[in-house]
């Protein structure tokens, strides 16, 4: 009920992902991976999770050393152990993967940002996870190592339910691959909080928008939502209304309503009612699309 000191557990510090997977195979459900610890340790102190074995991933060099890489093809690779603070400070993320920067900025507090990792945020699979919606809208892939080696999972088929993913107990997230954004594109993440910082999302909207070179026709769009259902989710109905069409205020209204009332499946809790969450999602989808549209246009005009 109330927070307590940590329960007893056996602590492991494997040197590699392979060794980590071996430990997971050995201890199964009785083990938990420690990355930043900002969720796990609190849950353990509340006795919501009481693992016999805690495996600290941070010493596994082959995942710890990945960091943030920009490939020659323009893709972004982010190691699972990259902290939110590192995401916030990375120049490439700030300029070309804006929604990830937005998410880092509104994530917890500076203290939590310096500990928490992007891998932990996704593995934890909370419907309110701040990086889930931005990574979803960027079309990200999760690189996972399990007993059968390494495989890549598209993030939009990764989440199954609240704190539930397709990962098995022997899987470890190694990194995220984020495809190169299109030429006339930008992205953002808008998060509704009860106060300006240190808060969970009442609702969150991440949008990736790519236009044709006329700055009007939508070449590609991905819209993802936080705290709008049992998992972070893609708003396909809204996206489909927009894709291939010319942006207009009327269409933006229509898309926003489709996302809020067809895609979103929010619940009423003490953090916010279903009604309010839908209203916020509608407002944020409109705001995101309008802002991105003018941003892309301005960027293009500057280029000319």
């Amino acid at each position: 009920m109330f927070i307590r000191r940590l329960p007893r557990f056996t602590y492991h510090e494997p040197d590699s992902v392979e060794e980590t997977v071996g430990l997971l195979a050995k201890y199964g459900e009785k083990a938990k991976i420690l990355a930043g610890g900002t969720e796990l340790l609190v849950k353990m102190k509340r006795r919501e999770v009481v693992p016999d074995h805690v495996i600290n991933l941070k010493r596994a060099r082959d995942v710890a050393e990945i960091g943030i890489q920009r490939t020659e093809a323009g893709e972004l690779k982010v190691g699972a152990l990259v902290s939110i603070f590192e995401m916030e400070r990375d120049a490439a993320i700030r300029t070309s993967f804006r929604c990830l920067f937005d998410a880092a900025k509104v994530f917890g507090t500076p203290q939590i940002r310096s500990l928490a990792t992007i891998g932990g945020n996704i593995a934890n699979a909370a419907p309110s996870a701040d990086f889930a919606a931005p990574l979803l809208c960027m079309g990200a892939f999760v690189e996972v190592r399990g007993l059968d080696g390494v495989r890549e999972i598209p993030l939009d088929s990764f989440f199954l339910g609240p704190e539930e993913t397709v990962l098995s107990v022997t899987d470890v997230i190694i990194s995220f691959r984020i495809p190169k954004p299109g030429q006339y594109s930008s992205s953002c993440y808008l998060k509704m909080m009860r106060r300006t910082a240190s808060d969970l999302a009442v609702a969150g909207v991440a949008v990736y928008l790519e236009l044709e070179n006329d700055y009007r026709r939508c070449k590609d769009v991905r819209i993802a939502l936080a705290t709008a259902g049992p998992t972070p989710l893609r708003a396909y109905q809204g996206e489909n209304r927009l894709k291939g069409n010319e942006l207009s205020d009327a269409l933006i209204e229509e898309v926003a309503s489709a996302v809020a009332f067809s895609d979103a499946r929010p619940r009423t809790t003490w953090r916010g009612s279903e009604w309010y969450r839908r209203e916020v999602i509608r407002a944020f989808v409109k705001r995101a699309l309008r802002n991105l549209w003018s941003e892309i246009r301005e960027k293009g005009e500057r280029r000319l």
Partner: protein, 755 residues
């Protein structure tokens, strides 16, 4: 003046910012045991049996106590509200209530022991609402009382019927306010030691060590001299640390049983779930006014929902009513106030006490009237604001009022005239005023006292009965003493708050310290001056009366050549005459009557201080989010002793109340279990939420205050809530009469307004 009115560095600034200050949790005693409490998972139940045998048998556990280990004597603020036990015996009263305390060699063992305790209980229907408490068919919450009405007061001043007859316009509205937590940084912590003579030493984070001391001794049935209280540094209190708590009683009893020191430190989720909160409120208020906005009468029926114990609730009921006719001229007031029991966490109060709530409801009602009568809210306030030399209808005498200047100043600072002309969409400005006592006179011990010890090196140590909670009283007392003795601020050091050497003030509340303890400090410094003057006069060959204390020297006013250094005077006292000197002083407002809380009769206090607050907000019409952008406060605290500290109090108090207005709310389910008892889920404002501030001091001279000063710490909290609500109305046209002003309420209101 050399030191009064100067923003000198806080006495505790360096030790605090370097982390050297020792708070209760930093204390360590050899052989110390650690105490943890088993807490109730339900809000209302009869205790059938508590089996602690397995916990006691756990290696490392040294003692286990329950309510049965105490004498069973209830304590309370008033003789008619003694309704709380050290620890519960027959009943569980609220979620998180401490039922069993364990002392063990370390915290892990103590926590492990909690899992081995079995509590059998039979659940009772919880009393969770005002209407539940008023329903006589539901069971009483408190075992010492047969009703869930804990206390009531009924005031009638002036001719209320005539007041409403004279009114051109009458408006009645109902306002509510939510339960909020207190919000200090340091969680409750305490360390108890018992020596071989049986004398107890308690070092705890306490706001009013006197209140703690009295209540503990009563509940333990021991004389006061058996308990010594020493206050370490305190990390904020805001009225949340007056009373003794279950952990204070538990560590004392466990120390008595084991003969070893015992320490308890709460986690903050325990504080948020189970310790002091502010009453929730429902008030129906009726106002009568002339066409020009002159108030003719005010009537209020107010329910304050407390927890299972009265605590200082009766005083809250009084304060709410007493400040209905402050700071505006109200010729007639009728008030019915009730304190209700509930199975929610116990209530004390929070900064500004329930004056916060009465000023909120009345100042929103005032704006509603202004809007209906098409009057400017600033003009309306100026028309009704009290002047110097005014006696309120309930008998509170206003010696000096700078309120009108405060109102004009904030209207100017926030740009009110320009705002009215160039109405910006979704931006609003709201005003509120408030008055607050500078320490009320209560029954029982009510004086303040100060002792100044002169050191051989010409420095002095000031020991006073107030409590340094972070508000800066030690600094202010040192400034006052330096001023009177004509020595430097650096020459004056704050002493330790210790019941063996300090006569504690009766309680640290109601903006008391600067005014009451400050007056005692002046008298103590004058007493020391008198003694030094006698010694020096002999040497200088002049009369003690003609000596002046200035610039670390003592000289004759008639012949300034006759002069001696303050340091040399101190040395002469010690070395020539064998006279170590102490200055003693006390102060008490004996000229004001003790107030009758039941009828509200009596002049409560000197030095009513005033504030006007203007808040500018931006409202997001698509999400309902209200963002405070600018705040202007103008404060009449008489002559500020330390303007920087007063600024800090005004800004801090305003931000504290912005939390109450916009973010904070203790939430619970239908069984009375608290839902949001973590800092993540309990939404206090964070630094990013703080708007831009302008604070002005309207300097007046109070005839009773030290150097003309009045209190200043709590008034700003009283004038913020209404200013926010009024600003939201100015921006949107919506009246939000149920706090907090959540984005959801605003958005719903905007949608409803559009139809």
């Amino acid at each position: 003046m050399k030191w009064v009115g100067k923003s000198v560095e806080r006495k505790d600034a360096r030790v605090k910012v370097t982390g050297q200050a020792k708070y209760a949790d930093d204390l360590y005693a050899p052989g110390m045991l650690y105490c943890k409490m088993l807490r109730s998972p339900v809000s209302h139940a009869r205790i059938l049996n508590i089996d602690v045998s397995r916990a006691k048998a756990l290696p490392g556990v040294k003692a286990v106590v329950t309510g049965k280990d105490f004498p069973g004597i209830p304590f309370g603020v008033r003789p008619d509200t003694r309704d709380q036990l050290s620890m519960p015996i027959t009943k569980i009263h609220h979620f998180g209530e401490g039922l069993v305390a364990v002392a063990a060699v370390d915290e892990d063992t103590a926590e492990e022991a909690l899992d081995l305790i079995r509590v059998e209980y039979e659940e009772l229907p919880p009393i969770l609402s005002i209407d539940d408490a008023l329903n006589p068919d539901l069971p009483p919450v408190n075992e010492f009382r047969s009703t869930n009405i804990a206390y009531e007061s009924h005031f009638e001043f002036g001719d209320v019927e005539q007041g409403f007859r004279k009114a051109d316009y009458i408006k009645e509205e109902t306002f509510t306010s939510q339960r909020v937590s207190v919000g200090f940084i340091e969680p409750h912590a305490c360390l108890a030691q018992v020596d071989a003579s049986g004398r107890i030493l308690l070092q705890a984070s306490k706001q009013s060590p006197y209140i703690t001391w009295r209540h503990i001794c009563r509940a333990l049935d021991i004389p006061l001299s058996k308990l010594r209280i020493v206050n370490p540094y305190v990390g904020g209190a805001f009225s949340g640390k007056h009373d003794p708590f279950d952990i204070d009683f538990a560590v004392i009893k466990l120390a008595q049983l084991t003969g070893r020191p015992v320490k308890a430190v709460l986690t903050y989720d325990e504080v948020l779930a189970a310790y002091r909160q502010r009453n929730s409120m429902r008030v129906t208020m009726k106002i009568g006014a002339k066409k020009d906005g002159t108030i003719t009468a005010l009537e209020a029926r107010c329910y304050l929902q407390g927890g299972p114990y009265s605590g200082i609730g009766p005083f809250n009921v009084y304060f709410f009513g007493a400040f209905l006719p402050v700071p505006y001229k109200v010729p007639a007031v009728r008030y019915d106030g009730y304190l209700l029991y509930s199975n929610l966490p116990p209530c004390g109060t929070v900064r500004g006490q329930e004056i916060v709530l009465s000023q909120y409801a009345r100042d929103v009602l005032l704006d509603i009237v202004a809007a209906d009568l098409d009057l400017d809210p600033v003009e309306m306030r100026l028309k009704n604001a009290v002047d110097s030399g005014y006696r309120t209808v309930n008998g509170i005498y206003i010696d000096v009022s700078g309120l009108k200047d405060c109102i004009k100043k904030v209207a100017e600072r926030i740009g009110w005239e320009n705002h009215k002309k160039t109405k910006r969409p979704n931006v609003g400005i709201g005003f509120s005023c408030a008055g607050h006592p500078s320490g009320p006179r209560l029954g029982g011990h009510f004086g303040s006292s100060v002792v100044i010890k002169l050191e051989e090196d010409g420095k002095v140590i000031v020991t006073h009965g107030g409590t340094e909670l972070g508000q800066g009283v030690n600094t202010v007392m040192c400034q006052i003493v330096a001023e009177v003795l004509g020595i430097d601020y650096e020459d004056v050091l704050p002493g330790v708050s210790d019941s063996d050497t300090t006569i504690f003030d009766s309680g640290m509340f109601g903006d008391r310290c600067t005014f009451w303890t400050g007056n005692a400090a002046i008298r103590a410094a004058e007493d020391l001056k008198r003694q030094l003057a006698e010694i020096v006069a002999k040497d200088l060959g002049c009369s003690p009366e003609e000596l002046v204390f200035e610039n670390r020297a003592i000289y004759s006013a008639k012949n300034p050549e006759k002069k001696v250094d303050f340091l040399l005077a101190a040395r002469r006292a010690y070395y020539e005459y064998g006279q170590p000197l102490y200055g003693r002083g006390y102060w008490a407002a004996t000229d004001i009557e003790i107030v009758d809380w039941k009828t509200g009769k009596g002049n409560l206090t000197h030095g009513i201080s005033f504030i006007a607050t203007a808040v500018e907000v931006e409202v997001d019409p698509e999400t309902g989010v209200v963002r405070p952008t600018r705040v202007a406060c103008a404060k009449d605290s008489g002559q500020p002793i330390n303007p920087m500290l007063l600024d800090g109090q005004v800004i801090g108090g305003t931000v504290h109340a912005l939390g109450h207005a916009l973010y904070e709310q203790v939430l619970y389910d239908d069984k009375g279990r608290i839902l949001n008892y973590t800092w993540r889920d309990y939404k206090q404002p964070v630094s990013m939420d703080v708007p831009e501030f302008v604070v002005d001091h309207i300097i007046t001279t109070d005839p009773y205050g030290p150097f003309g000063a009045k209190g200043g710490g709590e008034t700003s909290t009283c004038s913020t809530l209404a200013a926010v609500v009024n600003a939201v109305h100015d921006a949107t046209g919506l009246w939000i009469k149920d706090l907090p002003v959540t984005p959801e309420k605003v958005l719903r209101g905007l949608k409803d307004m559009k139809g």
